[in-house]
Amino acid sequence: MGLARTHSVALIGLAGSIVEVEADISNQLPGMRVIGLPDAALAEAAERVRAAAKNSGTALNSHKLTVNLSPAALRKHGSGFDLAIALACLAADNIVQPGSVAAVVHIGELALDGRLRPTPGMLPAVIAAARCGYQTVMVPAGNAEEAGLVPGIRVVGVASLRDALIWHGAALQPVDVDVLHATVEEDRADESLDLLDVVGNDEAILALQVAAAGGHHVFMLGPPGAGKTMLAARLPGLLPDLGAAASLEVSSIRSLSGRPVGRSLVIRPPLEAPHHTITAAAMVGGGSGQIRPGAAVRASHGVLFLDEAPEFNAAVLDALRQPLESGQISIHRANAVAHFPARFQLVLAANPCPCGQYGVGDQECTCPPNARRRYLARLSGPLLDRIDIQLGVTRVTAAELRLAAAEGRLSSAVARARVLAARAAAADRLAGTPWTLNSEVQGSWLRGRSTRLDAPVTAMLDRALERGGITMRGYDRILRVAWSIADLTGVARPGPDEVGQALYLRKGLAS
């Protein structure tokens, strides 16, 4: 009686580890048992594999099959192990060559007719296989394009178990089948959102560009109808294309959340705008069995936009403090710890009070003062302290609307070019440091010998610090924004104008 082994990949978060799938045929009553901590979907693999093998022209051995998933102590989830289990069982029966099966990593779910279904999380799984030094990975034909995005590994896409068996040397006749594809939902094209649509609000447009150039977080406060949502939705359009590593990471997260990846990597920064009823688990990720990424993780390398920020649960907002600080989310569960990247740009929008009319010229606010105070106090101090740009947005007036038609407005393409130039200037200056964006730079470096600004330039800031209007941390943040503004306007060092503007973008709310 035979024994054979092959390999597959188990995912915890974005990190994959290789799982050895062993199959043994023993002289016992018929049956199939999958051991090695499978979850419910994986334990049912026995039935899928049995039916798929029978319908692929070669039934499983009628003796007892024991399938072991090693390391046995690691919990395994999902249906991606079906192909590996089927091939290990048939290799143990010498229907395919055990040596050929052992050298390949197999990932894919089987349909009962023997066809292979596309499996979520393919991209991170193939990346893990490539990292562990495997040369070849066999995946469902519906996932082959996605798996092919990973460099340095040969991808074999097969439509059915029969094709996989023939590839591994089984004596079977090929049969043409329809390839199963993932149900693709059309992506809404966010390229249609252009800065040209924004009327007035020049400060806000400048603030968006500064935010995009320096990677700063933004808080916008203004009455309903001021265009906060409209502005925030246009921020991803100002960001440059993702680099190679970032684009692989963003695509992996998409794949892991079960969204289609398509034939090329995602190169545009993502935008996530969760509703304010979101729970902490949905925001950072969670789940008791399989740990899934949340909205903050999906916004990694892009923009996380929280509209009506004070309406969010306070615990949800404060859960963002760890990723804002470290750029990473660690989710601890009884059986595993998953680490996800979460280096996003946070954009908060809020009304000034529950009724939304406070501070607006023409209408009167009906909120009692303590309701107004409580409303904005829901955004905790430590969270707001991490946000470099805080700005008031006002409603567009009739005069602005008439003026806007006359003067030339800024398009997203032009703004993106400016942002690109500003980022290049910043990267140039920061060469030799661990940082690439102004928002990442430490305060001590900003006040260091080579980058310290002259006393007349920072006079306004120093006075604000003396008066207690800003804290030392706030001081550093204003310096960072000032450098971003300088990069954007093309001056080598921030002057009094840039510092003044930065102070305004930080304290614009107070006015």
Binding site: N27, Q28, L29
Partner: protein
């Protein structure tokens, strides 16, 4: 006699012949007690073997072995105990085996033997 009983009877004959050819001595056939029936009891070299015989005239309803369930196996073990109690023969070791007979009409019956099925 129903046709299925006839098929089963012929299967047990085949299995008994097969075991005798393999050097086993037949001790009992269709031994019954209040708990049920053991198809064949055979012995070889001090081992007493209780054999469950499953016969099918084809594999359209699955392999004969697939019909041996966990409950059936548990009953076989109880029956084996019951036989040992009433028997004068002192068995050094006991074993439970299963034999599948696939008797397609017009073909030589196919016998498969599994030793020690738990």
């Amino acid at each position: 006699m129903a046709r299925k009983d006839d098929v089963g009877r012929r299967g047990e004959d085949c299995a008994a012949e097969y075991l005798v050819r393999c050097g086993y001595t037949l001790i009992e056939r269709n031994w019954r007690c209040s708990q049920g029936e053991i198809d064949l009891i055979v012995a070889r070299g001090g081992d007493v073997v209780f054999v469950e015989v499953k016969t099918r005239s084809g594999t359209g309803y699955g392999h004969p072995f697939e019909a041996i369930t966990v409950a059936k196996l548990a009953r076989l073990r109880r029956l084996a105990g019951a036989w040992c109690e009433q028997s004068a023969l002192s068995a050094r070791r006991i074993r439970i085996d299963a034999i599948a007979v696939i008797a397609r009409s017009g073909q030589e019956p196919l016998v498969e033997h599994l030793e020690g099925i738990f």
